[in-house]
């Protein structure tokens, strides 16, 4: 009989930088759950991991890039999308994924989101929306629901809240979906589907922040929030994005709202330049100049 005991291993371990564990996320935080979903989606789709780049901004979700064993970039606050745009345009053969939080992508980085969606840059943007800035102590973000307490909205938020799927669709995104960190299978499946598509793809994942958002709003622990997500999520794949806005502790519409094929930035560029330059134009497929 062997004296060695087999250690139980997480099946996604090969995808993680295990030497960096334990991670920095709090108990009950949903970000790790979404990373699990993403790792499964990469496996399920047999995505070439050597050709996949992950770009994060700053914040709790911004740390995702540091834990996944991919070519990964932890950039500046709000700017993962333009960094990813540069990667994708210089080498269109890469799968480029942006993984960041609601504050990073939609407050400081909002303009970049708008324009990358408008141009239909061929990247997947995953936003973990926990309604708050976790890393800096629970301040108001553009997605904080009306009346929710934040450290910079001690009397409750009175600003209007961003409806992210509606924003994404109206800016021209090719694929728009929302799930929650309770829906692990659906989230993984949705990520896998999005990985197989072309164009600007956006997935919002509603996720708990027990340490700050829930504590300050007296919403219980991580488990209590999971219960809320379970009981209040309604799947409506054909929902109009204008109708999927979020209220404080209200119903959460989940599902795939937009899935359309459209020429990407590079498709448009190649078509236009071929039309106007004719034979003089060689189709752009990435920078080949030897450096």
């Amino acid at each position: 009989m062997s004296t060695e005991e087999k250690k139980p291993t997480n099946p996604i371990e090969p995808l993680l930088r295990m030497e960096r564990m334990p991670h920095i996320w709090c108990p009950g935080c949903g970000i790790g759950t979404t990373v699990n979903c993403f790792a499964r989606a990469l496996e399920d789709t047999k995505t070439d991991l050597d050709k996949t780049a992950l770009v994060s901004g700053i914040g709790c979700t911004g740390r995702v890039a540091g834990y996944l064993k991919l070519d990964s970039f932890h950039t500046t606050h709000g700017r993962p999308i333009p960094f990813a745009t540069g990667l994708k345009l210089a080498n269109p053969k890469l799968n480029v994924v942006v993984y960041s939080g609601d504050g990073d992508l939609f407050a400081i980085g909002g303009n970049h989101f708008i324009h990358a969606a408008r141009r239909n840059i061929d990247i997947l943007v995953i936003c973990v929306n926990n309604y708050t800035y976790g890393m800096t102590g629970g301040q108001l973000t553009p997605t904080t629901p009306y009346s929710a307490i934040a450290s910079t909205a001690p009397y409750g938020n009175f600003e209007k809240t961003f409806n992210l799927p509606y924003l994404a669709e109206s800016c021209g995104a090719a694929f728009v979906a929302r799930w929650t960190s309770y829906h692990v299978r659906q989230t993984a499946k949705c990520m896998a589907e999005a990985l197989g598509k072309k164009g600007f793809r956006f997935i919002e994942i509603i996720s708990p922040c027990p340490t700050l958002y829930q504590r300050r709003n007296k919403l219980g622990d991580g488990l209590a929030f999971m219960k809320y997500l379970k009981e209040n999520s309604v799947r409506k794949d054909d929902a109009q994005t204008k109708d999927v806005g979020l209220d404080f502790q209200g119903e959460i519409t989940v599902g795939k709202f937009v899935d359309r094929e459209m020429p990407t930035f590079l498709d448009d560029m190649n078509r236009r330049l071929s039309e106007t330059m004719g034979d003089k134009y060689e189709k752009y497929e990435g920078i080949k100049t030897k450096i």
Binding site: R17, R20, L49, D50, K51, A53, V55, A65, G66, K69, L70, D71, S72, F73, H74, T75, T76, R79, I81, P82, F83, A84, T85, G86, L87, K88, L89, A90, N91, K93, L94, N111, H112, I114, H115, F265, L273, M277, K280, Y281, E282, Y284, G286, I287, K288, T289, K290, I291
Partner: protein
């Protein structure tokens, strides 16, 4: 390890004599240097650089994207670089201010690239169509934290071409964003530009690692303090971050790692300053007064020096083609030999502070300031030379 120089890719080299303005010449310099990725946002007086690139890049297999702002432009180029391209961004005045955060990121990630700033009068919107040299300290210190930077300043369209190639070479050699500091006068001035044959243009090739996947450490420096590079998609599965990091590129939040990293980032420039320095000297041997200048002001200074010499004064000239790092060694050699240094700048006194710091009161240092909007009158510089020799 320093790399062997290679020759330019002929596809990007427009060999011949051209009548070009400084902005267009700068673009051709970038193309000759192998730059194929430009992200920019239009702003006077630098727009012509990106206009030309947008027209030229489909002819050479390049990529141009006009981003939504300068913040986006200044990080999109890093995506281009890490994907394996040579890249630059181009701006002026307010746009340069918006790019400051990413200059710091470029320093921290050790991303080779070029930032072109065609300087105009400031602060704020200032004088969009008129020249200034008042961003020199911003180029040096503009991003938060301690770091060293390389900045070049051309005085003609020809130098805009030549020095842009040099800027790319320095950025690759030292893995640092290099500032190409034109001004509106040089940017919009048209003169003869001779573009040599591709085989006559020396290019410092990117130092890609020879390490196998799994062995590569993104921030393990070579003997010259500079680490080797990779590109995305080569299987290294590396991580890089703007946080203070170790050789693996992983964040380490303590003072020991901070000290090692910041010292190396500064030393790789400081300790190589003499190699990076690029001066043009004229009549400094035996001079009683040495005029120190850079950019367009060096031409006005040269006119003033001609006038001074005609009056029998012993005046020398140092034109700093590389302004940062400042040529401290050469200045120190001259300090015991001269009576005075005169420094005209199209600002109220920026680089002169560095000159004063080096001279330490051992010779007279006279600033000839100018708020911008117009170059100096040579007579004003002449007066300063005379005054300093009294």
């Amino acid at each position: 390890m320093t790399n062997k120089m290679i020759t330019a890719d002929p596809k990007g080299v427009l060999t011949g004599s051209h009548y070009l303005d400084g902005d267009h010449a700068c673009c051709e310099g970038a193309l000759a240097a192998g730059c194929r990725f430009v992200a920019g946002y239009p702003i006077t007086p630098s727009t012509e650089v990106v206009e030309r690139f947008s027209a030229r890049c489909p002819q050479v297999g390049g990529m141009f994207i006009q981003m939504e702002d300068e913040i986006a432009s200044s990080i999109a180029i890093y995506g281009g670089v890490w994907a394996g391209a040579k890249a630059m961004t181009v701006t002026s005045g307010p746009g340069f201010s918006l790019m400051m955060e990413h200059i710091g990121l470029g320093v921290m990630l050790e991303t080779p690239c070029v930032f072109v700033n065609v300087q105009r009068g400031g602060p704020s919107t200032g004088l969009p169509t008129l020249p200034g040299q008042a961003d020199m300290m911003q180029a040096r210190w503009g991003s938060h934290g301690d770091y060293e930077i390389i900045a070049l300043s051309p005085n003609s369209p020809q130098e805009a071409f030549d020095l842009t190639i040099e800027a790319f070479n320095l950025s690759e050699q030292y893995r640092v964003p290099v500032m190409m500091m034109l001004d509106e006068c040089v940017g919009h001035m048209t003169e003869k530009v001779i573009i040599p044959k591709a085989e006559e243009i020396k290019i410092y090739p990117r130092r890609f690692t020879k390490a196998k996947p799994g062995e590569y450490l993104p921030y393990k420096p070579g003997p010259d303090m500079v680490p080797d590079l990779v590109k995305v998609g080569d299987g290294h599965r590396f991580h890089i971050t703007g946080l203070t990091h170790d050789e693996r590129g992983y964040p380490v939040m303590n003072h020991i790692c901070q000290d090692q990293l910041v010292r190396r980032l500064m030393d790789k420039i400081n300790k190589n300053a003499d190699k990076i320095t690029h001066l043009e000297e004229d009549g400094t041997e035996g001079a009683e007064c040495v005029v120190v200048s850079y950019g367009i002001t060096s031409r006005i200074a040269a006119r003033a020096i001609d006038m001074a010499r005609a009056e029998g004064l012993k005046v020398g000239h140092i034109q700093c083609k590389v302004v940062w790092p400042f040529p401290a060694k050469r200045i120190l050699e001259l300090v015991p030999k001269v009576k005075s240094f005169v420094m005209p700048e199209m600002n109220m006194g920026q680089v002169v502070l560095e000159l004063e710091r080096i001279v330490k009161g051992q010779a007279q240092v006279s600033l000839v300031p100018h708020a911008g909007g117009m170059v100096h009158e040579p007579e004003v510089i002449l007066q300063a030379i005379k005054q300093s020799l009294k």
